[in-house]
Symmetry: C2
Subunit: 340 residues, 2 copies
């Protein structure tokens, strides 16, 4: 005769809790959901029974019954994950996850691959209550695709096309560039160039404008800007071109840390010392800035805070989809190090 099989260790259900507490399933549900119209002794009994049985509500059943999911999607692209500097998605991710956890929601990770339409289908397929999109704005047409999707969507950064019809959380790029340029001026630099990003990106346009305006306000001449593509090599090329035009350069504002790494390499190769001969300020305050030689001053974006704010905005939209596009712009800061 075979030994008795071990107790199947089925997870406790609400039914079990109700039975153990001597109340109906409905009452147990009320207690666990904080409905106030329950006699105190019943509340205690249910709480105790739930604890004793190690009861955890089955989220699938709950979601089915409620028609809500208590989970939101986080959309990243494979490309960005591979190429973006560390902080760009790690920090917002951290902020968003913290905010989501605090509200006991869960976050589903979605990697948008080449087939972005699949993503739209997924979002319309009633899996999540809303979506957070953290991708490089210009590298995607997600905003176009997701417009009028079944669930609300919040973007990190202003979408390039038709920004007014989307909800987003952004940082003040113009202000950040002003901060950096003003710092260089304050340090006594007089020939302050810039390595700007591609001008089909709003971010890059704003940063260029901030640099230009501060120079103008101080009556300083603006060297012709050079452009990079937000890569290290692009930054190196741009720096070489800038030095060719303005060998007397004594300061440079670079629109990203990654480009600044290339720029530092070229400055070193040309025999110039940083900051003695040329002061450099990057943008992003990424790990690259912190570990550069010398550690580099850089414009810091409140990325983690942005992630949290994205969740706030998304929940607001989930609660009231008609609240229309919500836009929030946060100020940039300057992380001062030894390159100025």
């Amino acid at each position: 005769m075979p030994a008795l099989p071990p107790t199947p260790r089925r997870a406790a259900t609400l039914e079990d809790v109700a039975a153990a507490a001597g109340v109906s399933r409905a009452t147990a549900s009320r207690v666990l959901n904080g409905v106030p119209t329950v006699r105190a002794s019943a509340v205690d009994a249910v709480r105790r029974a739930a604890a004793d049985l190690g009861y955890r509500p089955n989220p699938a059943a709950r979601s089915l019954a409620r028609g809500r999911h208590d989970s939101i999607a986080l959309v990243l692209t494979e490309r960005d994950l591979a190429e973006l500097p560390h902080s760009f998605f790690a920090e917002p991710l951290r902020g968003a996850t913290a905010a989501v956890t605090r509200r006991s929601l869960q976050m589903v990770l979605l990697l948008a691959g080449p087939d972005e339409a699949a993503l739209r289908r997924y979002l319309d397929g009633s899996h999540v209550d809303g979506a957070l999109v953290i991708v490089e704005a210009h590298s995607t047409n997600l905003p176009r695709l997701l417009r009028s999707s079944a669930v609300p969507v919040v973007y990190l950064g202003r979408p390039v096309e038709d920004p007014d019809s989307h909800s987003y959380v952004d940082v003040d790029n113009y202000g950040g560039a002003r901060l950096a340029t003003a710092e260089l001026v304050q340090a006594g630099r007089r020939v302050i160039g810039t390595i700007a990003g591609p001008q089909d990106m709003g971010v890059a346009v704003d940063r260029l404008a901030g640099w230009r305006d501060v120079l103008a306000e101080h009556g300083l001449p603006a060297p012709t800007p050079v452009y990079g593509n937000f890569t290290a090599d692009g930054g190196a090329n741009a720096m070489a071109r800038l030095l060719a035009t303005r060998p007397d350069l004594d300061g440079v504002f670079v629109a990203s840390d990654l480009m600044a790494m290339g720029a530092l390499r070229v400055l070193a190769a040309s025999g110039r010392r940083v900051p003695e001969d040329v002061a450099v300020i990057g943008y992003d305050d990424s790990i690259l800035a912190r570990t550069a030689t010398p550690p580099m001053t850089s414009v810091r974006q409140p990325l983690e805070e942005m992630g949290e704010l994205m969740v706030d905005v998304l929940l607001q939209l989930i609660a009231d989809p008609a609240a229309g596009p919500v836009r929030r712009i946060l100020p940039a800061q300057l992380a001062r190090r030894e390159s100025v």
Copy 2:
């Protein structure tokens, strides 16, 4: 009289599809799940109806009925997300997500905060079918906590304690260190030091052993190793100490790129050129290595592949939990650049 309310645009259910196709719900379900015993004409009708109605199965209902979730958890820690070099989680994440998507599962992101027990409760709470843990091994006691959790767990990297009772995917750290050291020997270096990691981490122990063994095999003396804590500043301190003991150093193997950044800074400050005076090899092949001045040779771990493999292993364990701990070790490679 109020206008008729707009059609509620309720999502199509299986019932709707079945009705449109003129079959029962059961048959529609069969078609959509690829059960072969269905007449061809019915298959067509159901497929067409599903397409017409834009039918997407409700995952909550499916999960409830099947008792499976088709989703796995990805566990990261806040700390790691903040401090680890870019590639350390981005690449495995990418590999894992790709593998998960390919099998049309979904990935739920879990940030393990200070309260790691909450994580255990979550995993036992029947939300996911299994978990992937991508955290710095020594910074956590997750393995202890998650042992005998309700669902299978696969770790990136060998857990420090009691590794034999856990499933993991790791890379051959000893072999990677051998690769790097052999490269330095081959380049004609004769005084080859190492900046090792904390010796309470298995990874660091293995890397140190690889370096030592290769030197011994070539009959080269091994300078006393110096230790860093896997930070840039730690690497800088270690480098300074190493130079103090062995001013004649002409090669150094550093157990992480981040520490190598600090080392490069100190080498530059001491007036030594890389690679002319001292050759440097890092570990991780992160963006730091690629953007360093000069671009640095580094040991590359197949992190993306590891992420994919983790998913394979996890699915295998979900299918057969009794398959016992599964261990997989992948070989390291060398990414050659200009620092040797």
